[in-house]
Amino acid sequence: MSVKHGLLALLERGSRYGYQLRAEFEQATGGTWPLNIGQVYTTLARLERDGLVHALPESDGGQRPYEITDDGRVELTLWFATPISPADRPRDELAIKLALALTTPGVDVRAVVQTQRTATMRLLQEYTRLKGGAERPGDLAWRLVLDAMIFRAEAEVRWLDHCESSLARYAHIHPIPAAGGVSDDLAPAETTRETTKR
C-alpha cells in the first residue's frame, strides 16, 4: 500500500488539511504506520501534480485544505479493486537468508529456523495480547490491522515449520556437513556448487 492511496481514501470522505490527514491516517492504521507531516505534504504535492487532488483556497488560519478530483476517485476505485501484489520484503529477506544458510558450510540451518520461529512466535504473542485488550466496537479498524499482522506472522511460522520438516527430510538423505569440516559426502557440496552457479 502507498501513503498516496491512503490519503485519497481519506479525502474521499471530504476535504482535509495536511494535519488532519496525518492524524486520520494514523488512526485508520491503528498507529502502526506513523507518518511525518513532511511525507503528507510531499505526497499531496505529487497527487496535485498528477491531477488526483486539488488545493482549495487557504482558510483564515492559513490552512490549505485539499479535495479529491474525479481522476482521484477513479484511481481510488482502481486501487480498491486491484489485489495487492505479494511484495513482502522482510519475508523475501528471510527466504534468501535461509537459502544462504543452507548452502553456507558450518551454518546450523535448524538453529536459524528455530531462532526466527521463536522471534516470530513472540511477536505473535504480543499482537495477541494487544488484541485481547481491544474490545470496544470502535476498535474494529485497529483489530483488523492487528489481525492482519497476526495472520501474516502465523503464515511465517507455518512456512518455518515447513522449512524445518523439509530440512529434516533433506538431512536424512544428505547429512549436512559439520561446522567448518570437510565432508566426504558429495551431495550437499554439489548442491552448493549448483546454487552458486546460477
Partner: protein, 242 residues
C-alpha cells in the same frame, strides 16, 4: 507452587532396538494463572507430554507432580480422584460417549465424583453455555457437527473447578472465529487461576499462551515467553495509549 511439574521426564515405548523415545528428559513447571502452549512436529511427543501431565500415562523415568502430589506415588484410587477433580482434558480424539447427550457427557466427571444429579445438570448447562451450545444440550454426539462435538469436549474439560486444564489440539475442527472463542475461554479460565497446557499446530492459537514450548524428538528445544509487560508494550506501539 506450581500446579503441574514435570521433572526430568522420560517416556520410552518398547525396548532395545525398536524402542521409541517419545520424551527425553523434559522439565516443565506451570504455575496457577499460567498458560503454556506446546508446539512441535508430528511425533515430537506433544500428546505424550499431555497424557503424562494428566496421569493417563506414567513416565519411564522422572516425576510428574500435580498440585504437590507425585502421581507415581499415588494408588489407583487416589490417582483417579486427582484426574477427576483437578484435571480437565480435551483429547485429540474427542472421546465423547456416543450413548450420552451433550449435557450428560459434560456432567459425567462431576457425577463420577458423587455430585447430586440436579447440581451436575446445572453445572453442565453452564459449561455448555460458556461454549455457546446451551441449545444442543439434549443432542447426542452423532447429531452434532465436528466443531460442535469439539466444543462439548471443551465444556466437559472446563466443568466444575479444575485447577489444571489440558487440551490437545482443541481447535482442530473449528473455524477461525470459533477457534478463537475457545482460546479466549481457556485463557479466561487460566486468568481465573487455573494452570493450562495447550498442544497445538497453530501458531495463532499458541500465541494466546504466556509461554510457548517447542518440542523436537522428545526434547524441549526452545521456549518463547513474552519479554515485556503489556503496559510497556503499549507504550512501544506508536499511536496507542495505554
Amino acid at each position: 507452587m506450581s500446579v503441574l511439574e514435570l521433572r526430568e521426564v522420560y517416556r520410552t515405548h518398547g525396548k532395545g532396538e525398536t524402542a521409541v523415545h517419545a520424551l527425553r528428559g523434559v522439565t516443565l513447571a506451570v504455575a496457577p494463572g499460567e498458560f503454556v502452549a506446546v508446539m512441535g512436529p508430528s511425533g515430537s511427543g506433544k500428546s505424550t507430554l499431555l497424557n503424562l501431565a494428566g496421569g493417563l500415562d506414567a513416565p519411564t523415568r522422572g516425576e510428574v507432580v500435580v498440585e504437590g502430589s507425585v502421581l507415581g506415588g499415588l494408588n489407583r484410587k487416589q490417582l483417579a480422584a486427582v484426574r477427576r477433580r483437578r484435571v480437565g482434558y480435551v483429547f485429540q480424539d474427542l472421546n465423547l460417549l456416543p450413548s450420552l447427550t451433550a449435557a450428560e457427557n459434560v456432567a459425567l466427571p462431576l457425577e463420577l465424583d458423587g455430585m447430586s444429579l440436579r447440581k451436575t445438570r446445572r453445572h453442565a448447562i453452564a459449561a455448555l453455555e460458556e461454549v455457546g451450545l446451551a441449545d444442543l444440550a439434549l443432542r447426542f454426539p452423532d447429531e452434532m457437527s465436528g466443531g460442535q462435538q469439539q466444543r462439548v469436549a471443551i465444556a466437559r474439560a472446563l466443568v466444575g473447578d479444575r485447577r489444571l486444564v489440558l487440551a490437545d489440539e482443541p481447535t482442530g475442527a473449528l473455524d477461525s472465529q470459533t477457534g478463537e472463542a475457545v482460546l479466549k475461554l481457556l485463557r479466561a479460565r487460566v486468568d481465573a487461576g487455573a494452570a493450562g497446557v495447550l498442544v497445538t499446530h497453530e501458531a495463532r492459537h499458541a500465541a494466546w499462551a504466556d509461554r510457548v514450548v517447542f518440542l523436537r524428538d522428545g526434547e524441549i528445544v526452545d521456549t518463547s515467553g513474552p519479554l515485556v509487560q503489556p503496559e510497556e508494550l503499549l507504550h512501544n506501539v506508536p499511536g496507542v495509549r495505554a
